[in-house]
């Protein structure tokens, strides 16, 4: 296999090949950089390329491996991400680069002195950062239609959105530019772009991964997590990211609970149900068909309804609006015209919300978490689509669901928002159906701290051929053509 073919084979294969010295990290980084150079003018996933840094680290890794008397073993524990190129949403600090979080305003700030903790952890596992990725300004959006950096285009159809706010992260993985990317998810910002770009995304339990060295949006709801093209790659990356950090006050300081060795255990014994009620009412025909496809493959015939879902979604909306508005109040006072026009007025409105609304929203969130815990006493996995529809055209203002016309941008998160509101771990897994041209994701949801279960189910579905994340190719000429 040449380096470009190894790049397309995914993170686990790359690390294995690099550890065995079948291909050098330098060759792989060059292949990734060449892919980015060839495809990104059309996709616009990247805002920064860290070529010099990446090639320096690749050379150092190659020297280290060459100095070993025998090729390093291919075991999972030895540099599990050796030589794997990855990129991070541009709200992660990168040493020497200003963290902009998709904004114009932050461009005036000095460059970061350190990498974000999760970038450090990826590189400690052998991965190599090749750049920073586009996003909705300050993570307030579901489309990555960024007015300052331009929209990120969906690699499977360049006229459509990549989803957001981690749109660059999902698009870079879908286009085969990198096999892994990091993003953040407050109300759906990993799961929505994963769904629309047809890749795997993991939003771990709230408080699992420390957010140290990242630009916040809503401290009460912000999560970080990885994107990949296979469930195994997602698990390996997630394991590399785990571990507490006292600098993040919301971090639960859990010990590392490795999941990669567990994901082949299959679904035997797991009690799985689909979500009805609210979730049934907010999905279009393709989302419904994707859920049916997954449920049939898993032999699921049980459906449950959670109480008060609409209230949970409204609570997440208010908390996000208020915390986001308050965070940016100083700049809203003096530089409102420099904000992204698509989110500026929402930020200003959020800064004005009465305290009683937010306090009630936080109480409803706690109430809903208790209700769901009760509902999950005898079920391990819940399934629902990740987005109500597949990727919409860039600039679309409306979508139609069940005969109702809804505003396109906020409605993309209508199925993700109630779940992140109470911090449950979710894997968004991509489904391609015969009669549809674009992918759509299904959320695999478990009780808190059971990331192992969501990844087990994702892995089982992938092994059955029910979910998959092929590199975008024929329609756009992206991927293998580069």
């Amino acid at each position: 296999m040449n380096p470009s073919e190894v790049l397309d084979a995914g993170a686990a294969r790359i690390a294995d090949a690099v550890r065995r010295r079948e291909v050098s990290a330098t060759e792989l980084i060059r292949a990734s950089l060449a892919r980015i150079a060839a495809t990104d003018p059309r996709i616009n996933a990247f805002t920064d390329i860290t070529a010099e840094r990446a090639l320096g680290r690749a050379a150092a890794l190659d020297s280290k491996l060459a100095a070993a008397s025998v090729p390093a073993p291919s075991s999972y524990s030895s540099l599990p991400l050796a030589g794997v190129p990855f990129a991070a949403k541009n709200l992660f600090d990168i040493e020497g680069i200003t963290t902009r979080a998709g904004s114009k305003i932050e461009r005036d700030k000095p460059p970061s002195h350190h990498d974000a903790l999760l970038i450090e952890r990826m590189e400690n596992a052998g991965a190599i950062l090749v750049g920073a990725l586009n996003m909705d300004e300050y993570a307030y959006g579901f489309t990555t239609e960024n007015s300052h950096d331009g929209p990120t285009r969906n690699p499977h159809d360049l006229s459509r959105i990549a989803g957001g706010s981690s749109g660059g992260s999902a698009a870079a993985v879908a286009a085969g530019q990198v096999p892994l990317a990091l993003g953040s998810d407050t109300n759906g910002s990993i799961r929505v772009p994963a769904s629309l770009c047809g890749v795997f995304g993991l939003k771990p339990t709230y408080g699992r991964l420390p957010r140290t060295g990242t630009y916040p949006f809503v401290a009460s709801l912000d999560h970080l997590g990885p994107f990949a093209r296979t469930a195994r790659d997602l698990a390996i990356a997630y394991d590399a990211l785990q571990g507490g950090d006292p600098r993040d006050p919301a971090c639960a300081q859990r010990p590392v609970e490795s999941v990669a060795p567990l994901i082949d255990r299959g679904i035997d014994g797991l009690r799985i149900a689909t979500l009805g009620g609210y979730f049934d009412e907010h999905r279009g025909p393709q989302a419904r068909a994707a859920l049916d496809h997954v449920a049939t493959a898993l032999g699921v015939d049980r459906r449950i309804e959670l109480p008060g879902v609409e209230r949970a979604r409204a609570a997440a909306f208010l908390i996000s609006n208020a915390e986001g508005g308050a965070l940016h109040l100083p700049d809203l006072r003096t530089r409102a015209a420099d904000f992204e026009p698509l989110s500026r007025d929402r930020f200003i409105a959020g800064a004005l919300l009465p305290a009683a609304w937010i306090n009630t929203a936080q109480r409803v969130r706690h109430w809903f978490a208790r209700q769901v815990a009760q509902s999950m006493a005898d079920v391990d996995i819940l399934l629902t689509p990740a987005t109500p529809v597949a990727a919409t055209p860039i600039g679309a203002e409306w979508i139609e669901i069940e005969g109702r016309r809804l505003p396109a941008r906020p409605s993309m998160g209508i199925l993700t928002q109630p779940i992140s509101c109470i911090g449950l771990p979710v894997c968004a897994a991509p489904v391609w159906l015969p009669h549809y041209r674009l992918p759509i994701g299904v959320q695999i949801i478990a009780a808190p701290w059971r990331e192992d279960l969501v990844l087990r189910v994702a892995q089982a579905l992938e092994a059955m051929g029910v979910v998959a994340a092929p590199i975008a190719s024929s329609t756009t000429g992206i991927g293998a053509a580069a």
């Binding site: 007025d345 009630t360 409803v364």
Partner: protein, 72 residues
């Protein structure tokens, strides 16, 4: 809230926060505040008990340099 009540509140709250509302931005702000008000109505419809405390729980911060006293 009526449209007039929303506009009155938005203008007053913005003044309290010393947050200037540009004429270009004000209609959008009023629109989104109205949307938040609708969300607040949905949230407010939930009956809550005294034990339904707000979700965030404060965690006191210990000075890490000071070790815990050894158990007797």
């Amino acid at each position: 809230m009526t449209q007039a009540e929303i506009e009155t509140y938005v203008d007053a709250a913005a003044r309290v926060l010393a947050l200037p509302l540009a004429p270009l931005h004000r209609p959008g702000v009023v629109h989104y505040f109205g949307l938040a008000a609708a969300m607040a109505e949905i949230v407010g419809a939930q009956q809550l008990g005294l034990d339904d405390e707000p979700a965030p729980v404060f965690v006191p911060v210990s000075p890490r340099a000071i070790p815990l006293p050894a158990a007797e």
